[in-house]
Symmetry: C2
Subunit: 220 residues, 2 copies
């Protein structure tokens, strides 16, 4: 006969099959996006998981560390995809099309709308510099591709326009804030089309060339 060690959980485990660290991230993602970052304490996150607060602090130093892990999760897959596309795409237009489609697709399909946390004032502080550096790296890749596409198409190359493909991908965040989006694939494709059009390029050929490039997995 064995005995369980420590205090019992407050509630049965909420997230079957996840590691304790991922359970914390899952509960925090839900609470930060549904109730607000400022309005959510680590105590509330631990209660939501069904875990003692001391156990939570075994995995994360504080609430900012949890937020950082969630922000990183929104960008790391896209950065890896950007690297893969760099090798696989046959033109800057096809590469940009596939990048917007991926980035918007994962922002739309992720279980929680974590991109909505980008605008938190807390995220501008030095604590989040590692996340901001990764985001700057992605932004720079977008800009390089946008310039190449606009130059090929004879389209506008002013700095404000070259920012727009990234911005268009990230409108997925605001669309989710305003209500359910439905199937993410046509929305992500419309955003990829739009990213080429704002640069003066026609999207049809790029969309065909991108048909063999990676797309996010459909939501299970």
């Amino acid at each position: 006969m064995t005995f369980t060690v420590g205090r019992p959980r407050h509630t049965p485990p909420r997230h079957e099959g996840l590691s304790p660290r991922d359970e914390i991230l899952e509960s925090a993602a839900q609470l930060f996006t549904e109730r607000g970052f400022g309005a959510t304490s680590t105590r509330r996150i631990a209660e939501h998981v069904g875990m003692r607060q001391a156990s939570l602090y075994h995995h994360f130093e504080n609430k900012d560390s949890i937020l950082e892990a969630l922000l990183m999760s929104t960008i790391e897959g896209t950065l890896e995809t950007a690297e893969r596309l760099r090798g696989a795409a046959t033109s800057p237009a096809a590469e940009l099309y596939a990048l917007v489609r991926w980035d918007a697709g994962q922002l739309l399909a992720a279980r929680w709308n974590l991109g909505a946390l980008y605008t938190l004032p807390e995220v501008r502080g030095p604590r989040f510099a590692p996340f901001q550096r990764r985001r700057d790296r992605l932004r720079e890749r977008y800009r390089v591709l946008a310039r190449a596409v606009a130059e090929d198409a004879g389209g506008p190359t002013d700095p404000a326009t070259l920012e727009l493909p990234l911005r268009l991908a990230e409108t997925a965040i605001a669309q989710r804030t305003d209500g359910p989006v439905g199937d993410p694939r046509p929305v992500a494709a419309a955003l990829a089309d739009a990213a080429l059009r704002v640069l003066g390029a026609r999207p049809e050929q790029a969309a065909r060339a991108a048909s063999r490039l990676p797309e996010p997995e459909p939501v299970p």
Copy 2:
């Protein structure tokens, strides 16, 4: 000789020439956008103004009422402008161009980046239904214009694309979150150009036709 009544202010008045109500809004706008809505109490707002908390409650019932007034301020000028443009514009393309230019222009030029508060989960609750109704009204006007422009141009009329002119105007919010934008006018014009391009229209003629339509006042 006269005596002042009540406790003295904690600090000298911060906002010369504003009414007490506007002083509260000004301090709250700064604190909500720089420190976060959840992290800011009405006590902190009152201290920032240099006002007793009881005096703050004379003007606003609670923190949500202050947030509502700030959100309304981001949209009411644009709704009025949308009505004026409806009478003054010579084509849907010119009207949409001028609407995006105005909306983006005021989001960029406003003293605080209040649009960043749109993604707060708190704003989705029934307490903010009057704000959401006004925003839906603006969104519908954008959609009607976008459909007319796309049909004239033989461009895409899928629902996801017809959302994009509004979304492009609102990318002004994310651009400000990421850092100082500089002169808002070229950025607002680039967003208005982009709104026409995503609908398959060429922006040059619309930009010329919009040159006599209202623009936000330059920042003082």
